[in-house]
């Protein structure tokens, strides 16, 4: 078998293993830690009977391992259990919210990825001149402010003072695509700003790394134009690191979404998760945690696999 297939299969298996381990960790994090779930849901004034009832209802009397496997197999079949706070099916509640979240993340990615790569290239092209320095300064500023504050800054100046976009991102099924885009314009802008800085900086570093290779000098000494050097010799070697950068930042974006949804009161997964953490609704928290971890692990896996596929040493073994 081609060694690359083996390597990719190994990555897939490893990611699956990691996901299972992560699920165990999430489960353990909510079940075995010192706090008693029933107690913390009902508070200190709960009667012993109500505590016992809740423990029974939650299945807290079963051994932890049994509960974990019940939960895991349920999750694999799409059954995420029911929410403690309102008794609704979690999978159902998550469905709509997840598509909202993906909608938001999708548009943020569509805008930020090409923009970041382009700006990264500009920074490399004008290395150590003013465009590069400006980009570094903006990067430093934007990684120094938490996402939610960037959100409020934009909300204050663009939505409230200028009135260009709504300050709250409510979307619903009755809206047209254009209306929806109008509604999510601000949160998309914030998310773009948040990942842009990292992505630009990492793209710049990745391309500079390739441009310093000896084979770039060889190409220059062949009398090729600057464009030919980049297109023929730098680009094929820069794909893998850039894809890696993009994937890592998309993973970062998925987490950024959580906070931004709260800022703009956007009906997505993040808002749902934060609400239920506050209400100590453990099954919902577990379900959301598992989904976020799965997305995160999945994106990291794609980054790994792209690096393997793009490596000529692995693609063309001796």
């Amino acid at each position: 078998m081609h060694p690359i297939i083996i390597l990719v299969a190994q990555r897939l298996a490893l990611s699956t293993l990691l996901l299972i381990a992560a699920s165990a960790l999430i489960f353990a994090g909510t079940m075995i830690l010192p706090g008693d779930v029933a107690q913390s849901i009902l508070g200190q004034s709960a009667t012993p009977e109500s505590l016992a009832n809740l423990r029974e209802e939650l299945g807290l009397n079963d051994p932890p391992l049994t509960r974990y496997f019940d939960w895991l197999f349920g999750a694999l079949q799409g059954d995420l259990g029911t929410a403690l706070t309102n008794g609704r099916d979690i999978a159902e509640s998550i469905g709509q919210r997840m598509s909202n979240t993906l909608f938001l993340a999708f548009w943020a990615a569509i805008i930020s990825v090409p923009l970041a790569i382009m700006l990264g290239l500009i920074a490399v092209r004008y290395k150590d001149r003013w465009p590069d320095k400006l980009i570094s300064a903006v990067t430093l500023a934007s990684i120094s402010i938490p996402e939610f504050l960037i959100g409020y800054l934009l909300m204050y100046f663009i939505a409230v003072k200028l009135g260009w976009f709504p300050s709250v991102a409510m979307i619903g099924d009755h809206m047209s695509l254009l209306q929806k885009l109008q509604a999510i314009a601000l949160p998309v802008m914030v998310l773009t700003l948040v990942v842009l800085a990292h992505m630009m900086r990492m793209t710049r570093a990745a391309i500079l790394n390739v441009m310093q290779s000896a084979y770039i000098e060889t190409a220059e000494l062949k009398g090729l134009t600057g464009f030919q050097v980049i297109a023929r010799h730098a680009f094929p070697n820069a794909i893998a690191p850039i894809v890696n950068v993009v994937m890592l930042n998309l993973a970062y974006l998925v987490v950024g979404v959580v906070v931004i949804e709260v800022v703009f009161v956007y009906p997505g997964m993040g808002q749902y998760l934060v609400d239920h953490v506050a209400k100590r609704d453990v099954p919902v928290v577990q379900a959301c945690g598992l989904i976020f971890a799965a997305v995160y692990i999945g994106l990291n896996m794609v980054a790994d696999i792209v690096s393997i596929l793009a490596n000529p040493r692995l693609r063309h073994p001796k």
Partner: protein, 285 residues
């Protein structure tokens, strides 16, 4: 050390200023932290001086105005800075001690110790930090010590990776091998051969971890899962005053200024520490 660049000097000055304010908050703050001293969202002296206060206001007793229930914002910012900086500092120290001790240990021991520790850290890092923190905080009582422990331990995975990588780079150096061949004990190797060479990158990283801790605790407080009212902290101030934004009241944006200046100052210092290291390396070649 004579020629510290101007940017690093500014950074050092501002960082020191913030830490002094945190230490002496009760002496500096004009009012008590939870003391209600005025109306809701009174405009600030600064706004009045600049002439951008809402119509009808011509004077103010408060440099930064009042908050959503009429407390002095400047006092809350100062006390809030104290809480935020304290939690971030404590979490950073915890993450550094745990992460670097385990990282050095893994690098020097190698073998299965290294494997077990590193794979466990991989696992923790496979779940986004914020999500993991939310999961844990959903079942734990949210108190300051618990916040510090959760943040510190989660962040120690990053420190572990860096400390291990730096130490592994150093342990393969011939001078460490020479020390082993001389018969030196592990203690000498870690403290005399590895540590002096690993210190600068670790100190620079400490700055970045501290910034991250400030952002993280602010985020948690903003989400209502960090510092609990009536205690003040920068993230909490945003949460309390966010409703004002829609009415054009900028109170919630004050922490942005504070966090950003603190973070940039620390960053400038960290950059300088790191550059000093690289220039030393360049001199070696």
């Amino acid at each position: 050390m004579k020629n510290i660049p101007i940017s690093a000097l500014i950074g050092l000055f501002l960082t020191a200023l913030y830490f002094l304010m945190a230490l002496f908050a009760p002496l500096i703050a004009p009012y008590g932290m939870a003391q209600v001293v005025g109306d809701v969202w009174e405009p600030s002296k600064i706004e009045i001086m600049l002439g951008i206060a809402p119509a009808g206001f011509t004077e103010s007793n408060f440099w930064l105005g009042t908050d959503n229930i009429g407390r002095d914002l400047l006092s809350r910012m100062i006390y809030g800075g104290r809480t935020t900086i304290f939690i971030a500092t404590a979490a950073t120290i915890l993450s550094f001690v745990t992460g670097s001790v385990l990282g050095f240990f893994a690098a020097v021991m190698g073998g299965w110790v290294d494997q077990v520790l590193s794979r466990f850290v991989d696992l923790i890092m496979s779940i986004p930090t914020l999500i993991f923190a939310l999961v844990v905080l959903s079942v734990m009582p949210v108190t300051v010590p618990i916040l510090i422990v959760v943040m510190g331990l989660l962040d120690s995975t990053r420190v572990y990776r860096l400390a291990r990588a730096v130490a592994v780079d150093i342990t393969v150096m011939d001078y460490v091998e020479a020390a082993r061949l001389r018969g030196e004990k592990n203690g000498w190797i870690i403290f005399r051969e590895i540590l002096p060479n690993a210190l600068s990158p670790l100190v620079a990283e400490m700055g970045l971890r501290f910034i991250f801790a400030v952002l993280f605790v602010s985020t948690l407080s903003f989400l209502g899962l960090g510092v609990q009212p009536p205690e003040a902290d920068w993230g909490g101030i945003v949460k309390e005053n966010k409703e004002g934004i829609v009415y054009g009241i900028p109170a919630a944006l004050l922490p942005a200024v504070a966090i950003a200046t603190l973070a940039i100052s620390v960053n400038l210092v960290a950059d300088w520490v790191l550059n000093r290291t690289t220039s030393l390396k360049g001199g070696r070649g």
